[in-house]
């Protein structure tokens, strides 16, 4: 059973459900359930982050031109870049509040493997920030005069790609725990790593328009997702231990 | 000599490249020398302030 500091006034501190064993899956489930509970308590914050996505996407036509062919060309790229920015915006809350009040240290001391717990947290992060973006994107894609086939490909690409953004972002969030310049530094570290996801994800629609089919892009995204699922929690867990020492 | 500087009409590009490269290297070396002096000066100062047995 994980015990947490009794003197904290934050409501999330009282999340102390018992842990029957010390396995990978139970650890993941525990971290997932806890983070989802905490996130859903501040639903307004999640709503604001989604609203940020909507607003950013709406800015580009205002800044360029509402001309249909231009929008159709820009659309996938804009929706992807905005998804990337929205992910960056919500990344600090992945570890920062737990780190600030000492919960993260106790999580790290638990018998569960830290990568498993980190995976649960990342999954919760994606479900509350990435998945809403995936759901919104086809709706917003209509603003960009994208046809049904493009919207489908775009949505599938985002579905595969936004988890990768959460996974890569978690490494950055773990490395920059408690540091000054936090958010911008995190962006500087994470954005270059996300370039391949952006290229293959946004390029999927264009590839299908060019007659090449989107399957190559989507397969590469899928492969990237598998690699990230295995590698990123390990790197993030190592980075957390480095920050905690 | 003027042929050398003109570089077949491409002088601007060639010398901007070589020139900025030379400047960058000199800048790095100067910064390194300043860093070395500062580090040694501070180190010697500390050592004189609190001599070890």
């Amino acid at each position: 059973m994980i015990t947490v500091a009794a003197d904290s006034t934050l409501s999330r501190q009282h999340d102390t459900s018992p842990l029957p064993d010390s396995g990978v899956w139970s650890g993941l489930r525990w971290a997932l359930a806890r983070d989802l509970r905490i996130a859903l308590r501040s639903r307004a914050e999640l709503g604001v982050q989604l609203l940020f996505y909507v607003i950013v996407v709406s800015l580009f036509p205002l800044a360029t031109s509402p001309e249909k062919s231009l929008l159709a060309l820009m659309g996938p790229g804009v929706l992807w870049v905005a998804a990337l920015l929205a992910s960056l915006l919500s990344l600090p809350r992945l570890f920062a509040s737990d780190y600030a009040d000492g919960t993260l240290e106790q999580i790290a001391l638990s018998p569960h493997p830290l990568p498993a717990l980190v995976s649960g947290k990342i999954l919760a992060h994606w479900l509350t920030s990435g998945l809403p973006v995936v759901v919104m994107a086809p709706v917003l894609g209509l603003q960009y005069a994208l046809d049904a086939q493009s919207l489908t490909i775009l949505t599938v690409a985002l579905l595969l790609g936004t988890p990768i953004l959460s996974l890569l972002g978690a490494i950055g969030a773990a490395l920059t725990l408690g540091l000054r310049g936090g958010g911008s530094l995190l962006a500087l570290l994470v954005l270059p790593l996300c370039v391949p996801v952006l290229i293959f994800g946004a390029g999927a629609v264009e590839a299908s328009h060019a007659g090449l089919g989107a399957s190559a892009n989507l397969s590469l995204l899928g492969a990237g997702l598998l690699i990230a699922i295995v590698g990123a929690p390990l790197a993030a867990a190592a980075s957390i231990r480095i920050a905690l020492d | 000599m003027s042929n050398f500087l003109a570089m077949g009409g491409y002088g601007f590009y060639v010398w901007m490249s070589y020139g900025v490269t030379a400047l960058a290297i000199v800048a790095e070396l100067l910064a390194l020398r300043a860093r070395h002096r500062a580090a040694t000066r501070a180190f010697v100062h500390d050592r004189n302030e609190s001599p070890t047995p």
Partner: protein
């Protein structure tokens, strides 16, 4: 010879001091030879005229920018695996020079591109990958500056450098793919002029000069880092002095 003897900062400090000038002067000599080959020996290129002579800086700088990053990641891996301070300090010492090489590659690439292909920046695969590499260098340097504790900085920057190193081939592959998709049938911007042997040897000599320069600078910088860390340790009290570093 037991190399592990030299893995302590105190033992390596004097060695670095003795080696650095040797590497520095060699770099200067090699650069002189390389420039002589590049300007006096190599003929004018048929297609690009004299502008091609920029490659004697551009290509070696680009090679070094990649090489230094991999070496930096290697020292980071050593630092994580064996917990040796010197490995981490070498990685820290290499980063600024790596970033400098990347900048030089980008700058000379732009000034080579303008007369040759009509534009300073063409979003071709190599230059775009080089730009992202510059961001990766800045990330490692920024992370180092943001962390006050040396030990945490060493380990965090090692992790970041390794994550970056793993990603560099992926990034390059993706940018290459992106570029070929949009190039269409236009001229390949990354095609170098047909390489006469003399041009290649000029580039190789300059690359060697750049390598020796990097080693010399890194050795001096690692001495500065040792002094700076030693000073920090001293301020905690005389018992933390590393013998031999006085």
């Amino acid at each position: 010879m037991n190399l592990y003897r030299y893995s302590s900062p105190a033992a390596f400090y004097p060695i670095a001091g003795r080696l650095a000038p040797w590497f520095g002067w060699s770099a200067g000599l090699l650069a002189a030879i390389g420039l002589w080959i590049g300007f006096a020996k190599a003929p004018t290129d048929f297609q690009q005229g004299e502008a091609y002579r920029i490659i004697f800086i551009h290509v070696p700088a680009a090679w070094m920018s990649m090489f230094i990053y991999m070496v930096m990641a290697f020292w980071g891996a050593m630092a994580l695996a064996f917990n040796t301070r010197l490995s981490a300090m070498m990685a820290q010492a290499l980063a600024p020079t790596g970033a400098l090489m990347t900048f030089i590659a980008l700058w000379t690439g732009a000034f080579w591109g303008r007369p040759t292909w009509g534009t300073y920046w063409a979003w071709d695969a190599r230059m775009t990958s080089e730009l992202i590499l510059l961001f990766l260098y800045f990330g490692v340097i920024a992370l180092r500056n943001a962390i006050d504790d040396d030990r945490r900085a060493d380990r965090a920057c090692s992790v970041l450098a390794l994550v970056g190193a793993v990603n560099v081939p992926i990034i390059y592959f993706s940018v290459q793919w992106w570029n070929t998709l949009h190039q269409g049938s236009s001229i390949s911007l990354t095609a170098a002029p047909k390489m006469a042997t003399i041009m290649l040897s000029g580039m190789l000599v300059m690359a060697l000069a750049a390598w020796f320069y990097t080693v010399a600078v890194a050795l001096v910088r690692v001495r500065c880092i040792m002094r700076e860390r030693q000073r920090g340790a001293r301020q905690l009290g005389p018992t933390t002095v590393v013998p031999g570093l006085a």
